[in-house]
Symmetry: C2
């Protein structure tokens, strides 16, 4: 927007409107699913709150019990935005010198490999030592300790606790198949075997586990929802967010630039990505893959033009999408196009049409998109 005369909106720029009240609503819905359980909630705000912006969503997270981030600089961003509660750091320490960032209170480090324990051992004891969560390798095996190493890692943590270098020790697991009805039973059996006889709070469940295995989630100490906070469903083949009582927290929009006729048989876009089966009216929209709209999206991907449902035609180009205006009221120039984030045009439906997942779309917007808060 820099350089634009005062009062002028920059309509070539796609926009993402972030609604923190939707985040608050979604958090309440998540809490409701826990029923009478005393399980607490780590609100997952890694990847800058799944692309929404930590500072923009934070007003919607006052009722969260803690925030979960990737790394210590993200934890610092949460503190800078005003968060005073616990913070879980999934990546723990990325290298030895990050121990210099451990001064802040109420930090919880996920420990995924032995070197991280050595770095904690070498650090000077702190007046406010971090808690740690030992990560079980589980069935994703993207870091963590397997059955052979878990006991030893726990033992080293107990020593660190005795030395005052850490506070509490928790147990963390992550399921590879929590979207499946039979996806966690066996995985959990292994996890319970590894932690048996080793006291500490337990955190194993993401959104999909909460939805499909609610009784299990209710018996853990902390759940770690991400996607549902932002209004999207973790089981998009079965339910979209609105069907789960959720509200989209991001509304991704662009503007209609021009309309044109397309004759029967004419090709549209590079290599004739779409060929008109009849005479059509086409709209050109100021958004493309350089904004983070998925280039894999296919003809038929839904969107709203001036509030009317219609579809993408052909392949997204770098700066431009073509949309079908043939059977809808021709909108005025400069009409708003909703790319995703409306109950009638969910990010789930765009992800399905692009062969990807909601989280990849939400976290994939580029710096070219204007991010707008409440």
């Amino acid at each position: 927007m820099s350089g634009m005369p005062h009062g002028m909106t920059q309509t070539a720029q796609a926009q993402a409107h972030i609604d923190s009240s939707a985040v608050a609503h979604n958090l309440a819905q998540i809490r409701k699913r826990l029923g009478t359980s005393r399980a607490r909630i780590w609100a997952t705000v890694k990847a800058d709150a799944y692309g929404h912006g930590i500072a923009r969503v934070l007003p919607g997270l006052t009722d969260a019990d803690g925030l979960a981030v990737r790394d210590l600089p993200e934890a610092q961003a949460c503190r800078a935005a005003g968060w005073r509660g616990p913070i879980l750091v999934y990546g723990g320490l990325h290298r030895p010198d990050e121990v210099a960032l451990l001064g802040a209170s109420d930090l919880h480090l996920v420990i995924s490999h032995p070197a991280q324990l050595a770095w904690l051992q070498a650090a000077a004891p702190s007046a406010q030592p971090p808690s740690v969560w030992l990560r079980y390798a589980g069935d994703t095996r993207l870091g963590g300790f397997d059955d052979a190493d878990y006991a030893q890692a726990y033992g080293r943590c107990a020593e660190l606790r005795e030395q005052g270098r850490i506070a509490d020790i928790g147990h963390l697991n992550h399921y590879a198949r929590s979207e499946d009805a039979d996806g966690i039973a066996e995985a959990d059996l292994h996890f319970r075997g590894a932690i048996e006889g080793r006291p500490g709070p337990i955190s194993t469940c993401n959104c999909a586990a909460l939805l499909l295995h609610p009784d299990h989630a209710a018996q853990t100490d902390w759940i770690r929802p991400g996607l549902m906070l932002y209004g999207a469903s973790p089981i998009p083949d079965v339910h979209h967010g609105p069907g789960l009582g959720l509200k989209p927290a991001m509304r991704f929009t662009a503007r209609l630039l021009a309309t044109q006729a397309l004759r029967q048989g004419a090709g549209l876009g590079y290599r004739g990505a779409f060929t008109a089966p009849r005479d059509m009216r086409v709209g050109l929209v100021s958004c493309g893959y350089a904004d983070g709209y998925p280039r894999h999206a296919q003809t038929g991907t839904p969107l709203l033009v001036d509030g009317q449902p219609t579809r993408l035609l052909g392949r997204p180009a770098m700066d431009t999408l073509a949309v079908d205006l043939t059977d809808i009221d021709v909108p005025g120039p400069d009409a708003v196009v909703v790319l995703w984030g409306d109950p009638r045009n969910t990010v789930e439906s765009v992800a399905a049409s692009a062969g990807t997942i909601c989280a990849a779309l939400l976290t994939g917007l580029t710096p070219r998109v204007a991010m707008l808060g409440d």
Copy 2:
């Protein structure tokens, strides 16, 4: 990096290193292909220089004849970064009030639909009127005038020129199939028919047209290279950038976080995206789809770990990639992983493995990536 103690690098963060001298080298290679032609070069820097950053690449573009951007705010960014030469604005005017941005000298507006001419007509004449380039709809049909409307649009431009509202009138086309040996002949015949008898400079050729139809490109007045400036090939099935004498301008890197054993038969990642065919050693890398690494990348996508070629395993997660370290010297912790942008690991090869194009990868990095200049 905010909040990190002085001297500490933030290793959880993926980085894109931009080399403006590679851009200068690539521009010289493009000029060389024009031979003795007097065709001039619009260096295409839209989408913030294909994701490299206009200010970072500008030192490499001092020999360009002009810059080409999407919109007037991008043109202003070029001026702010120090560019004093001509600027071509592909999107022309996006709405009436953008005429307020036309004061700057040497602006060239691409005109794609009649309303833009009406907006110019309604604007106050300027001491430094813009030039216009009429866009022919051609065979992409993503905006522009078709055969029925081109003559009338040219006539209106001639009137605007007489009124002093615009300077020169040029002719612009864009081919849907310039990557094909037979991709432009018929398209060009239509274009030549539309502009016949209407004086003005001609610009029709992008990188692919320059490579595959060099004699044709040499006979036009301005070419509009984009991808080759950044070191990537527009015909990646035939040549990668280094094979065309080009140097990658972006080197996208992350760090190795940890290594772990993976037993034969064990699954890795969500839903067991990869299953180990034998006992293996796996590295975990601090990069994921939330950085803009393509989630569609498949097992086998090439990358370099500590300078050694290896491959992706399974699906990229939001924050983490798994890589195969079984048959390479086990690198030290914190080793550099080149995701793309090395002659031995081109962005073309990653794009091929992810079923996409180089431009989508280069323009797709998210704000989470640290952008570093020379």
